[in-house]
Amino acid sequence: MALAPRLGLCLALLGAQGCVSYGSHLSATPTPPGQTEYSLNADGLILDRGFGRQVLPNPEASMRWGLTRRLDFGLRVNALGAEASSRIGILQRGRYRFTVVPLLGGGFVPATNQDTGLVTSTAGVLLLNGFTLGSATEVVVGLRSQVRLDLNAVAVREDFSAANWSLVPGGSVGVRFPVSQRVFLFPELVVLVPRSLEGEGVQAPILQGGIGIQWESRRAPGPAHSPP
């Protein structure tokens, strides 16, 4: 095989290794109205596919659009998966902000599936607690709970009981801080403990960590993240 196709396949497989993503790199502050926020994330996953703990890469990109001061909408894509979410600002007290993030995602999982999944879909909620430090730095502590459905051809075509349901609760901690007027870095660590709803109990914990670089399309007319 020529080098270029082989390299392409290599990159595709590397990407496919990380097509299950649990990070968010989301602060508790919705994107301001009229602005578009971009994020490039370089994450790694530590999970157990049956061979013991392995580290897999997970590059991803996201865009978010500010709709109101308390509502935005975003899409996040990685190698073979995508997730849509919306940040809904619920509460702000001084330097504390509480935001709810419903999310819906899906992905193709040929290599990272624990067992017999081919396509996975998740639906869940993130609860983000943001603590503002200084003028633009935000520490984010999150709790999440997702329901994950792993589908395969047998489940789709023949017997839906071949699908695997699981509950994926977990938590995250991250900090978003500015490196220039419009550019932010966002390191984040996520820990999840999947639990099979098929009677197989708790599975090995999943760790995802990495750093995102985020920037906005243009400055807001007022303070970047003004209170509602």
Binding site: N113, V119, R157
Partner: protein, 291 residues
């Protein structure tokens, strides 16, 4: 109220602009819908095919101290003539008394057995590309007993089952049991493929006497070789092909996915031979019986 209405209009405008993404999502979903299930042979008793071509000579029944075993995944049984040339021409392969074949149909397995004068037993597990897709055991000694093992799990993309073929061979000193194994591809997750290897190892470990397990275990992803080997070595098997170089081609280069595990044998030699008959190379092992 007006503000909220405007906000929701904005949401819907966003949604409309993203119809392209939604269409892409639907396309993905339809691809999943289009994943047709393959035809499997779920009956553990068959279909079964067998034939006898081995001559019943004095030498075949003589005392036995050593024997050679080959394993060869002949891709979809497409290049049988080239495979016969390899198996009969190479100095290591032509000494094999037992040949374990994968990705076979019955005409291909029968043709090889007849050309090399072996007895043969063959079970298909499913249909692939319009032909039966299964495993065969070829032996210079009589095949006394045989069975088809249906391995756990089905392929996530098409529901294909995988099988192993077990055969007990009437060698002069004592019966030997051999397995021809073909595990699933990485479409099935790592844990699922380990379950398949574990099923074979568990079945083989229950047997008394010498055992040989060989075939294509599809251990192409990092970590899977060690984990698969551990399933056998923890049950008193020796990894006979530990020193054999990678024998199968793949998108990232050659992989070590064909293996032979033995019990109650010492390994005198092992290797692989270049071949144009398949995307795999045949592997061989020379074994010494431990009395």
């Amino acid at each position: 109220m007006t503000t909220w209405f405007s906000n929701w209009r904005a949401v819907f405008r966003i949604a409309a602009r993203r119809r392209a993404q939604a269409a892409a999502g639907l396309l993905c979903a339809s691809l999943v819908q289009a994943c047709a299930l393959v035809e499997n042979y779920d009956d553990p008793d068959g279909p079964r095919y067998a034939a006898e071509f081995a001559p019943r000579t004095e030498s075949a029944a003589g005392p036995l101290a050593e024997l050679s075993v080959c394993s060869f995944n002949i891709e979809l049984s497409e290049h049988i003539a080239e495979a016969i040339a390899d198996l009969s021409g190479d100095e290591h392969l032509r000494t094999c008394s037992v040949i374990l074949l994968q990705e076979m149909d019955w005409p291909g397995a029968q043709r090889i057995a007849e050309a090399l004068a072996f007895d043969v037993v063959y079970y298909p597990g499913s249909v692939h590309s319009g032909k039966d897709f299964g495993n065969a055991v070829l032996s210079r000694w009589p095949i006394l007993d045989d069975a088809k093992l249906i391995l756990p799990h089905r392929n996530p993309s098409n529901g294909r089952i995988r099988i192993a073929v077990r055969a007990t061979l009437g060698v002069p000193f004592a019966p030997i049991t051999v397995y021809s194994v073909h595990g699933d591809t990485p479409w099935l997750g790592a844990a699922g493929r380990l379950d398949q290897a574990d099923a074979v190892a568990a079945d083989a470990s229950r047997l008394v006497g010498p055992v040989i397990v060989g075939g294509d275990f599809n251990t192409s992803d990092p970590g899977s070789v060690d984990s698969t080997v551990e399933r056998f070595t923890s049950r008193a098997f020796t990894w006979a092909t530990a020193a054999v170089p990678p024998s199968a081609g793949g998108p990232l280069g050659k992989s070590k996915i064909d293996h032979v595990f033995v019990k109650e044998f010492a390994v005198a030699g092992a290797g692989t031979v270049a071949s144009d008959a398949s995307d795999h190379q045949p592997i061989w092992v020379n074994l010494v019986v431990l009395h």
